[in-house]
Amino acid sequence: MTIEELEQIAKSVQQENAKYDYELNVCMDLACASQGADKLKDALVKAVEASGKKVLVRRTGCMGPCSHGPLVRVDPEETTYSKAKAQHAEKIVAQLGGEPVAELQCDLNDHFDSQVRVVLENAGYIDPEKIDDYISRDGYKALLLVLTEMTPNGVVHRITESGLRGRGGGGYPTGLKWGTVAKSHGDLKYVVCNGDEGDPGAFMDRSVMEGDPHRVIEGMAIAAYAVGASKGFIYVRAEYPVAVSRLTTAIREARRRGLLGNNICNTPFNFDVEIRLGAGAFVCGEETALLASIEGRRGTPRPRPPYPAMSGLFGKPTLINNVETYANIAPIVRNGGKWFFNMGSERSKGTKVFALTGKIANTGLVEVPMGIKLREIIERIGGGVPQGHKFKAVQTGGPSGGCIPAEMLDVGVSYDALLKMGSIMGSGGMIVMDDTSCMVNVAKFFIEFCMTESCGKCIPCRAGTAQMYTLLTRICNGTGTMDDLELLEQLCCTVKEASLCGLGQTAPNPVLSTLKYFRNEYMEHIVNKRCGAGVCNMEQAVEVMA
């Protein structure tokens, strides 16, 4: 495969597409599929055949606003239809070229206008199982460019220059990590993609892997060239069967096209990727635990140093990045580091994909520039809290993150700002809660999660989370005392300071942040034996008092 051949493929796809007058892009992501998108697509194909119009019906990955699904976008007009069902198919096809179908139209301008799409640039435009679709949208161009025109050092430099930070949540500068692995000595190095999206309430990585799998593979191949690796592993949750099958197809197609394998693009560069399945352990998102799991062992973390960059998978230098980090690589290479550097806030560059869920009108995936205000995401893009309820908090960072109250909504989203508010960026889950959620109960939910997901290797995390859970249960059922609250705060400190890995170190965050911003709710549970949101069952407390 050469650049000329790549352009040839792109051109032939464009010629093929030009034969059609219209394109009907049907979102077939999980949320839309569960609402009948596959039946809709079949009906559309049938209706097109019957009408004799030249229309391309294409299956695409997630378009974003899942709560409006199943979604169909008509190109070239760019009309978006929401809640389209199979029975609407004939009407949609009949109205092509005329007035859009009024009953299916929805105004999502507010939703899309403030978004900037880098990682999701192909979402809704390509068929994820067709490599040629990806190539026609500049796919693999960055890889071939890197292989033919850049030195490995040059690639590392460009990534460093872009200011990209790890999208898995920690925010470690990606360029620095690549540089360290590149400098490590070793005949064999590995590149690993962390697709173990264990954070409940987040599905960005799933959507990227399902909707645009080649982007991840291309990012990994560029990384492998930059650090001198020849073998890659994608670690995917077994709970994401579609992602696994899409990636498997993508790898096979890339091999067939000579974009993976030996002597890629007639250069001495060899690289191949294998998929490894997770088996349902949240801790495996931690890098050393993930490596243990790839090696076929229990996913328990180990102390660092040595960092995986020095001694990782099978004891070899290993580069581990998150799915979204790899997805950012190809555009950075294509457009230059400066382009990326100019987006975002002072110390957090580029864009971030968030999975907006919970009590909010427009649930789904959004991609926004770093530094955007939380209020803008929730009120404008998300459409606010529905059904006349009042916004209470937004939870970011999953079980390692915290709850951000209404008064902090005007803060811009960045790694540092979120950390300062007692939460973390995390992988990108953003769960909105309204006045029907009890914050003490939410804290209990997360601690229960961490308790069951703790691998049990170090005591602060294993025993600490269990004790915290007991205390929170007591507070929630109305039998808690002020002493319990004090003990809980002490425990938070111990677990945070003394745990071995990120899971334990961040497990107290949901408790600490709710204590910081919603202490009155804790007090109400303890002193008045009352749950303001009406979530907690206080019957036991009443019995004790009687």
Binding site: A31, Q35, D199, P200, R276, A279, I431
Partner: protein, 165 residues
């Protein structure tokens, strides 16, 4: 050192050949343990003692380590699943939207706790951490099919449909 000969297949069951295939594909390397266990589970539905023993011996992994891996990861099950499986997602988004009520409803209706199977082996009730369909919370998987925005009534209806069969 003499060449390693893998143990014979436990029975004539063709599924063992699939399991063996996974191990052979990975050159009977120890790091293929999790991959192989995945194949066993997808072929047989669960992992029993014989299977764990066979895989451990084939890959030359201590039995304790194989058992440790099986029990460490939530995805692996040591008990056979029921004829039907309902998996309620208890991720954060689903939880905020009332997944706990769904679980309670199902537990009451089936008379079992989460993670168990009804005595007649008809329905298993499982709880998942997050299936990634958060935008349609609360979500349940009924025999693999995703049902979004599920209410308690729908849950009861679904379970009754299975009991009638």
């Amino acid at each position: 050192m003499s060449a390693f000969t893998p143990p014979p297949l436990p029975s004539d069951d063709k599924r063992w050949k699939i399991v063996n295939g996974t191990m052979r594909k990975n050159g009977f390397a120890r790091h293929a343990l999790i991959e192989t266990l995945h194949t066993v589970q997808s072929s047989f539905g669960y992992l029993d003692d014989d299977a764990i023993r066979f895989v451990a011996r084939s890959l030359r992994v201590p039995l304790s380590q194989a058992y440790g891996v099986v029990t460490f990861y939530h995805y692996f099950s040591l008990k056979p699943p029921g004829k039907h499986t309902v998996t309620v997602c208890a991720g954060t988004a689903c939880y905020i939207k009332g997944a706990d009520k769904l679980i309670a409803t199902a537990e009451k209706k089936l008379g079992i706790a989460q993670g168990q199977t009804t005595k007649d082996g008809n329905v298993s009730l499982m709880v998942a951490r997050c299936v990634g369909a958060c935008s349609r919370a609360p979500v349940s998987l009924c025999d693999g099919e995703i049902l979004g925005e599920m209410s308690s009534e729908q849950m009861i209806e679904q379970l009754e449909r299975w009991t009638v069969e």
